[in-house]
Symmetry: C2
């Protein structure tokens, strides 16, 4: 497939949307701010994204597709389900092994929080959020089920819900307080939650 | 203390701020929307709250003071620390015993999420958030320490961080998906997190 000028432009706008949302939150995300960040006219942004909702959906799509590709790559048959689950969740809170480069890149978490706040008053965004979260829950529940085949489907789902809450809470809290909820804390909390999720049935 | 017209007005504005923030999110929270909700002029809102940040800080203050009074009332010497911790956290996710009235009032969670999203681009709000969260962590850590005196201070703090993440995640996720993260799920996730937090040291 030949790469077109439109592809380049869309990519530049995509990066600009991401930067503005992570930096200024949802109230700072305007077509104008994205245009300024991308160094183009507001008209050009409008050509690619009809409105603010389209920008937000695009950012959410990026988050989702990156997470999905990463998880698929982990689950390539070389690891057991418990290892896949752990690496997947550590990546979801930006605390995977080998990521200790001294900086706390919580951009993903900031984009995520901005999207979720916007979804409070927008049913389309809320629906997109639910789809993404259900995919996340489904993946976790399947991995738990493979690790502990004696659990029923419902129990796996319940445990997945608790994991999802831990990941969500760590990401949300670290946006405002990256020192307290630093990578070490996030890693340790994820490991604790996984121990609970993978404990044999009492 | 005599109740003045100013008190009444402030209370009406306070209720209006809460309603608008919970309903429309942080991008819908304007002096004008609060005035419309309270049935007064924008000038009157401005008389009580200098700007949008003041409205947000006020809403956050309400959340904090209600939580604090409730926790103080629980910890009145009639219950052990584990019971206080459980009731306190269940209340924090709106899933306390006797609250199963069939409705999911996630207004608090929506106000909280709106505040946090706004704090992404406002250091004053972010600082207020951190203060509140540190008070929450301090209270949880102290209760864990009273329940398990053999743990060191640091271990209690670590366990409190994990509890905080669970509570935060459940509240955040329930704003967009109250059916999936319903009261039963929230209660069960809190109970699981407390079991982990109060487990004897391995």
């Amino acid at each position: 497939m030949t790469r077109t000028r439109d592809d380049d432009r869309r990519e530049r706008l995509s990066a600009a949307t991401w930067t503005v949302l992570a930096r200024d939150g949802v109230s700072g995300l305007t077509l104008r701010a994205v245009a300024a960040e991308a160094g183009c006219t507001t008209g050009l942004v409008l050509h690619a994204f009809a409105d603010k909702r389209a920008l937000l959906l695009h950012a959410r799509e990026l988050l989702h597709s990156r997470g999905t590709s990463h998880a698929d790559a982990l689950d390539d048959g070389t690891r057991g389900p418990a290892d896949v689950l752990r690496l997947f969740l550590l990546r979801s809170v930006d605390a995977g092994p080998g990521e200790d480069d001294g900086t706390d890149r919580n951009e993903d978490a900031r984009v995520w929080l901005g999207f979720l706040a916007a979804s409070l008053s927008d049913p389309v965004l809320a629906e997109r959020h639910r789809q993404g979260n259900h995919a996340f829950l489904g993946r976790c529940a399947a991995l738990i089920g493979r690790a502990l085949p004696e659990l029923g489907e419902r129990e796996c789902e319940e445990r997945a819900l608790a994991l999802s809450a831990t990941v969500e809470g760590l990401n949300t809290l670290s946006t405002a307080d990256p020192d307290r909820y630093d990578r070490r804390v996030r890693r340790s909390a994820v490991d604790g939650a996984i121990r609970t999720a993978l404990a044999p049935r009492p």
